[in-house]
């Protein structure tokens, strides 16, 4: 309660001061390299054409892990404190090596040890598992296997654009463009709002998975320690679109709508108009419009609409959407239920905008999920964290690739006015804003964690003095 803004600022300063001194040695040779190639113009954007993407080029990867991967913040993110704790030491990390072998149950005491081992093994992919009750490396030494069990992990969500294939018209499978990426923007808005307002979680980080999806990591202490059954509850609360490819109408909700859904519809309404009706135009062809008809109640209405649309083929989805209300006015059927139509229209808005979660990722404590800041082997892009506040401006296609980043270090030239501190490698690249955000996020987590501890200690003292 009493630790106000003053204490917060001090902590920030302290953290930043010590962070900037990290690995100064790696910055020194870079400057030499950079000055050794002065003919490169720093402002020119590097060629990031898809032809030269190979995220797993071992030399590039080594440079990336050596000079760009934010090891220290990564450590603090999982450790929740600057000093090594069991949160990190007992955490499972899993590496996929360049020959596709998977090494599970790796664990480290500090970020330096982890970095060293990563440089030795050069994994193409790092995945993060749960914190276990004992050190994962020692699990085989235990007499009783039941003593090795997962006890904590961030609450995670995974959303993948392939799950939108039946409603997006611009791309399919692993391909994405800025049009269908809007589905991700919608998802982030809805899920973030629910997690913050309903469940009261504060430390929510979204990470671009490098190709076609996003992951959410929620680091609140209350979220990390949820057991499987509680995770399943959150997943169920958030899941609206149910059923597989063949279950027909996939949004079935009780009325009146739950406040979470009312809020979601408010958030999604404008997206439905712009990003679905106009950008995706999902019902332009008559086969696709058939799907819309199936979701509407009342046969007379459906028949009237079908006649109207058959008469003018190629009518746009926006027009068809407004046709529904127009035609509904002319329906003569006495039993026509305008409330049912309104409900059906709400369900359609949700079916075409509400986030489609890969729910199994969220349900299990011991599910492995790809770490932020690794390189996607297919696209070469870095899996960068994105601030939900500015997610709308995020463009997945302009995320820096490993080639681009290395190029940026090489072509960096020292500014006229020298800063007192050595400039770190990542600060010379377009990775900087992402790492800056990550650092802010991590500091907020550590601050909260420390406040809990301080509070507990203070309470303890009070107890003794009584």
């Amino acid at each position: 309660m009493t630790s106000g803004a003053g204490g917060v600022k001090l902590e920030d300063l302290f953290d930043m001061g010590s962070d900037d001194d990290e690995f100064p040695s790696s910055a020194v040779p870079v400057k030499k390299e950079a000055s050794g190639s002065p003919d490169l113009i720093p402002s020119s954007p590097p060629d990031a054409g898809p032809a030269q993407h190979s995220g797993s080029d071992p030399e590039l990867l080594r440079t990336f892990y050596q000079r760009l991967f934010p090891w220290r913040y990564f450590f603090q993110w999982l450790n929740h404190s600057p000093q090594p704790t069991l949160d990190f030491e007992h955490r499972e990390l899993s590496f996929m090596l360049s020959n596709d072998a998977v090494m599970r149950y790796q664990s480290y005491r500090t970020s330096d040890l982890l970095r060293k081992d990563v440089l030795r093994l050069m994994p193409t992919r790092i995945e993060i598992g749960p914190v276990y009750s004992t050190n994962p490396r020692e699990r085989k030494l235990l007499q009783n296997a039941a003593n090795f069990r997962p006890i904590a992990k961030e609450l995670c969500f995974d959303i993948d654009l392939t799950d939108y294939d039946d409603i997006r018209t611009c791309c399919d499978k692993a391909n994405i463009c800025n049009k269908c990426w809007q589905f991700m923007t919608m998802a982030v808005k809805v899920i973030t709002a629910a997690l913050r307002e309903d469940f009261g979680f504060k430390h929510i980080m979204w990470v671009y998975s490098g190709r076609r999806g996003i992951h959410a990591w929620i680091s609140d202490k209350g979220a990390r320690t949820l057991d499987d059954s509680k995770r399943k509850v959150i997943a169920g609360y958030l899941e609206v679109i149910v059923g597989g490819a063949q279950s027909g109408k996939r949004v079935n909700l009780r009325r009146p709508l739950h406040p979470h859904l009312t809020r979601s519809i408010d958030l999604l309404k404008s997206h439905f108009q712009e990003d679905v009706l106009e950008a995706q135009d999902p019902w332009r062809s008559s086969e696709r419009a058939e799907k819309l008809l199936q979701l509407l109640p009342d046969r007379e209405l459906r028949d009237a609409l079908k006649r109207k649309w058959d008469a003018s083929p190629g009518r746009s989805s926006s027009l068809k959407w407004s046709d529904i209300d127009q035609v509904a006015k002319t329906v003569t059927n006495k039993n026509f239920d305008s409330k049912a139509l309104l409900d059906a229209k709400q369900d359609i808005v949700l079916e075409y905008t509400y986030p489609r979660l890969d729910i199994n990722v969220s349900k299990k404590l011991n599910h492995l999920l790809k770490s932020p800041f690794v390189i996607h082997p297919g696209t070469g892009r870095v899996c960068v964290p994105v601030d939900p506040k500015t997610f709308e401006d995020f463009d997945p296609l302009s995320v820096p690739t490993i080639q681009q980043l290395i190029h940026e270090i090489d072509s960096w030239t020292e500014p006229e006015v020298k800063s007192e501190k050595a400039v770190l490698d990542w600060e010379k690249t377009s990775l900087k804003p992402y790492i800056d955000y990550f650092r802010t996020h991590v500091n907020a987590i550590m601050r909260d964690e420390r406040d809990i501890k301080v509070k507990r200690e203070r309470d303890g003292e009070d107890g003794e003095s009584w």
């Binding site: 392939t162 309903d198 009261g200 597989g244 279950s247 009325r255 009146p256 709508l257 739950h258």
Partner: protein, 503 residues
Amino acid sequence: MNRIDNKRRNVVDHRKKQYADPAYKETQYPHRLNFYATPPTADITLEQFEQWAIDRLRVLAEIEACSFRNKAPAETALHMKPILEKYLPLDSNSSSSTQLSVQRQKDHYSHFILRLAFSSTKELRQRFARVETMLFRLRFNADDARERQAFVESLNLDWEPVPDEEKREIASELMATVISSYGKKAYQSIDEETFYRVDWTRVPDLVEQRRVFLRAGKAYVPAKELQSLVVTEFTARLEKSLELTARALPRLDEDDRLTPILDHLSKNFVAPDAGYSGGASAIEGAEITARNIDNLSQHFPMCMTVLHRTLRRDSKLKHFGRLQYTLFLKGIGLSLDECLTFWRTSFNKMTEDVFNKEYRYNFRHAYGDVGGDSNRRGGGYSPYSCQKILTEHAPGPGETHGCPYRHMNMDNLAVQLQASGVTDPAVLRGVKEDKEKQKFHLACNRVFEHLHAKELKKAKDDGVMTASQLETIVHPNEYFKRSYLLKNMGKAQPGGDVKMEGP
């Protein structure tokens, strides 16, 4: 010398000493319901010990069967009423019964006896906690309102009522959750309703179904939903004490009269899931090979037929579809090598390399060929039962696993059924009705009987089918086995009794 004597005497008198205190003996049962917080301490006879446990086990097995058949709560209550009255009656305080204390003692003791029998493994503990919770919920709902209130108050659960001011601020949200959960008639005014503010983790089922308003991690629970809170509390406490029992079990100071009884009890409570192992259901004389699957698929239940068709159409299946199908194939006796051949040839659009890297391991894992010790020793996973398919991992976007009678809409289901030769409108109508009533087993069995009508009649006439072979099918592998045997009756007589393990 003296000391040793003392010790020896202590050992002899241990039980007497522990249970001698009359303060323990006179357990009072003021309420019909019981949270089973204190263990019983009075003496009972060995016969009572066994009989009471068996009676309770009957009740629990029946409750579990209801949940397997997906009965609605009201139906379950109706079904359970005579059984409960027969084996485990519990009268309310207001009834003029003279048996109150005897009934409650039996309820109390049998619960604790079964705790001993079902605490040894994690699976048994989970299952016991689940069925005991179902029983508790059933009784809680059936309880007299006033007595229920008294019982709840005796539990001392700390709930914080929402102040009026806050209630007014969020009135519209509360209204929406209340009306959508109980209907418009139930509530006219939020002011008259008491709400409690609790951590959302204490009412998980209400949160999961979006029946309560959530704000900043707190759930706003109407007084009506006390049940959910109490039941969650019951389960949580029971799970915790079962774990403690399990830990104490090896050190249990008891004589060798009880061990065989407890052992026997827990064996009689085998999960129906575990009933199917690869070897047990293999059919002699049938050619179960990768090449022959297309031919055999005429004997598959709809859940597997749909997967098979999807696989043939798309040359791929999603994860849970592969798992469900692989385990079924394993269950009908397809060897691992043949299984790998089957999937390799079915996934004909991918390269050998991709298949080996991304899929081969999973199939081998399902067969117990790779993986951890326990997986290999256990021979991988068992084939999924209807119960598992119906309740776990409902299919998501693009997925085709699950139970078609439950997870498909009627139109798509009808298309699939017609493709399998079910065209009789009466049967389709029956399936539709079953589906609407959520009797998915009935629908599946209806289709089975329709498709095998001729053979079933012949089998019955000839008397070659044993009673258990005419029971409701609750396992896809059982469906296959019966179908295969019936269709090949001339060639191979249905051999032996198909063993259906159950409670």
